[in-house]
């Protein structure tokens, strides 16, 4: 017997067709009609796992059918792999980056920047027709291979094995070596012993400890950004100018502003206007990198802001959100809790520190763009020492009116794990809000045990 698949209802089609097109980097557009067709006909055949009605699905994708922009982020997610393949066929350059950074210099240098999650998404989408079990098995197998080739204590392997095998056509591995990530610089280094000699390697060296107060540290990081752009130019063969970078900063500032507005609008509502996953997928558009296409993200983001404002004004509640849910704020890198299952338990995720930290950091537009970008990057709240980071987090928790805080960290994410206790300590001390630290087990599988603990915490709240 085939698995039960979720289908979007035809009843909502008309409303969806009234919404805007998505415009892409290359100027092409996709109409709501085409998106609807993909989500109802093509998508379920290609990726049945994404439509499977199954408790164990990590993020089951938006089912909020009356919120067109959520369906659009769904579309962008499902077509991601095909779009990356197309971009490569058209000669576009692609870089591997870190999860906690903005992508302005990559945009300036006409390069698509993909963080580890997106690299995995690209790879996952290359195979069609899998159900959830098959898909999980396949992911697990490739993880095993990467663990073997790199280190079994690696938290994420960022598609190492696929890049090395040449299956994923990544031209350059060039992330920021931010403090949040214990693994990324060693991950870059690991590529030096793989068979793929064509992939370029660069660590963009992010210095540590109160660096934004030190002019020499800003200069140093700015120099690293110049080196990054130079390396990206070596791949594309073009010459990126300071003006290109300034334009990219302006574009990304627009995204960051809109993302921040959207988040604050959402927080201002008495009734949550979307569920946890929809909130996350819309707010994260502010970084413009989520779908490997800056313009596409921006066009959906602009529209999303409009829809959310309408919902907030009319007191519309998001799909599957319970009445008076317990509001959770999630801390920790590259990882979150299962939104829909937590909603079933009576909660809602109202914010995260990861991604939000750099989305809310605007870059100065007057003056040397490298220096400005370096300064802002070194000021990322997430990258600060314990006290400073905790104070910023408390501000976000207060703004979002969270009832509880969960610090969750991945297996092998040593530098987050190490400061989880002090951070929640300060939060508890200053806000009195209950907190809970969760260590995700090896291989990052979202399992029953994890959800049981999260549910117990929600119940306690």
């Amino acid at each position: 017997m085939g698995k039960q698949l979720f289908r979007y209802s035809e009843a909502n089609k008309e409303g969806f067709l009234d919404s805007d097109n998505i415009t892409f980097n290359d100027g092409s557009i996709v109409t709501p009609e085409e998106i609807w067709h993909y989500l109802t006909v093509e998508g379920p055949v290609k990726y049945p796992s994404a439509f499977e009605v199954n408790l164990y699905q990590g993020n089951r994708g938006s089912r909020d059918e009356t919120l067109p922009t959520s369906l659009k982020t769904r579309y962008l997610g499902l077509t991601f792999s095909a779009r990356m393949e197309k971009a490569k066929d058209n000669g576009k350059s692609i870089a591997f980056i870190q999860g906690g950074q903005a992508v302005d210099p990559y945009t300036a240098a006409d390069t698509i920047a993909l963080r580890p999650g997106l690299v995995n998404q690209w790879n996952n989408g290359l195979e069609y027709g899998n159900d959830i079990n098959k898909e999980n098995l396949r992911r697990k197998k490739s993880k095993e291979k990467a663990f073997h080739d790199m280190s079994f204590e690696a938290c994420q392997t960022g598609g190492y094995e696929h890049v090395q095998a040449g299956n994923l056509r990544i031209d350059v591995i060039a992330p920021y070596t931010v403090l949040r990530c214990s693994d990324v610089s060693y991950g870059v280094e690991a590529h030096r012993h793989g068979p793929n000699k064509d992939v370029k390697l660069l660590n963009v060296d992010f210095p540590l400890r109160n660096q934004a107060d030190k002019p020499w540290a800003i200069e140093y990081f700015a120099g690293n950004l110049r080196r990054l752009v130079h390396t990206l130019d070596e791949v594309t063969g073009r010459k990126t100018t300071e003006d290109d970078l300034l334009k990219a900063i302006k574009l990304h500032n627009e995204g960051r502003r809109l993302g921040t507005e959207l988040a604050e609008l959402w927080w201002s509502a008495d009734i949550p206007p979307t569920n946890s996953d929809d909130r996350a997928s819309l707010v994260s558009l502010g970084n413009l990198e989520t779908h490997g296409d800056v313009q596409a993200s921006l066009s959906v983001l602009k529209e999303a802001r409009k829809f959310i404002a309408e919902r907030v004004k009319n007191g519309v509640k998001g799909h599957a959100v319970t009445d008076n849910p317990k509001r959770l704020f999630i801390l920790g890198s590259c990882v979150g809790i299962n939104g829909s299952r937590s909603e079933d338990a009576g909660a809602i995720v109202v914010g995260r520190d990861d991604q939000w930290s750099h989305c809310s950091s605007l870059v100065e537009e007057e003056g040397d763009p490298y220096y400005n970008l370096a300064k802002t990057t070194l000021e990322y709240p997430y990258e600060q020492g314990i006290e400073k980071r905790a104070q910023w987090t408390i501000e976000q928790i207060r703004k979002s009116r969270a009832d509880g805080v969960i610090f969750i960290h991945n297996w092998g994410c040593n530098t987050q794990a190490a400061i989880s206790r002090p951070i929640v300590d300060i939060i508890k001390r200053e806000t009195g809000i209950p907190t809970y630290i969760h260590e995700r087990d090896l291989h990052g599988l979202r399992d029953e045990q994890e959800q049981n603990r999260v549910n117990a915490f929600i119940e306690m709240l």
């Binding site: 403090l179 060693y186 012993h193 020499w216 140093y220 190490a418 206790r421």
Partner: protein
Amino acid sequence: MSIQTLEIIRKRLEERPEELRQARKNGHKVVGWTGYNVPEEIVHALGFIPVRIALGGDDRLVEVGARYASSKTCVFIREIVGAFSENKDPYIQQTDILAFDATCLQNYRAAEVIEYFFKKDVVVLAVPRNFAEDDAKTYFVHEANEFTRLLEERAGRLLDNATLGESVALYNDIRKTLKSIYTFQAARDNVISWEEVYDLIQAGDLLDKKEYLSLLQQTLAELTELQHNPVIEADCDSRIFISGSLIPRGDRKLISIINLAGGRIVGDDLWSGILPHLDLDIKEISPAGVALGYLNRTPHAALPYLDLESDRRLKKLHELLSQSRAHGVIYHTLRYCDPFTFKAKETKNVLAKSGIPLLEIHTEYAGSDYEAMKTRVEAFIEMIRIKSELVEEEAA
């Protein structure tokens, strides 16, 4: 054969905590430092008593440390954090100021956690990841100046070049003498074992530097009397080289297993061993000159380097292996020590090209893996023995 100076050193180590206590009573300050690139000479020249914070082997402290720094931090750092929490280690007890560096991010996190929970005064030296680049060196010079400024504030005086020059000369002499002593442990006749030299190196982390130099010189004199001309040759068929994560004082599990399995350790490139004392060339007497001397040594594995062919860490490993005439490498990786675990497979492959076998031993401070480690080490030593015999037979 026993080297009498080693006995004196053991005794002096027993007396050292009390000596530090007295020194502090008399107004001296003790700086506990940890980090591959902490320029100890600067600490010394400012009149502080430098003591290295490096201890391991106590699983209970690891558990205590995990309560503060999570169970996902490397075992070494967890133990250090645990030791600060308990405050029973006689050296940790005596520290007034801590100086940590950010060569390894986990070391840096330890500084933050200790500062937060145990209210310690911590000075941190940032270290560039792209250490080989010129702009990284410029950045590091700024950081070294800043590090010096922060220590000067605490010392209540400015660093003067003449004193720094004296400290550099003293440390240079220590390094030079250690290098000479180190040659003896790998030599025929074995007048001093690697284990004894290893303890001797670590004694220098704690003893007064001037006294330490004189004890080293005495040791060297005794050794020279016993063996005038140390010749290093493959005199037995199980010469083992240890590489990988550090093995600090208190942790002797792997070393004793190798000994029990009949292996003779003849060299190491450990941060807790000879490596930091090699190739330190201070070209200019200034904080910048000292710091650059440190940064230009064989890099620590925590600093990534992206070109395999020109990697100086691997080059040094090859050089030391050939000097020590080792037959195989036991590569020690501590739980959650990313800098070394990420490189285990690569190092194995690189050495395999030169016909040198490598065994990775991944461990923590619990005793539960003792038997499993022993079995693997025994099998490895047996394997290299058979291999050496075959080579000898072929040569004959």
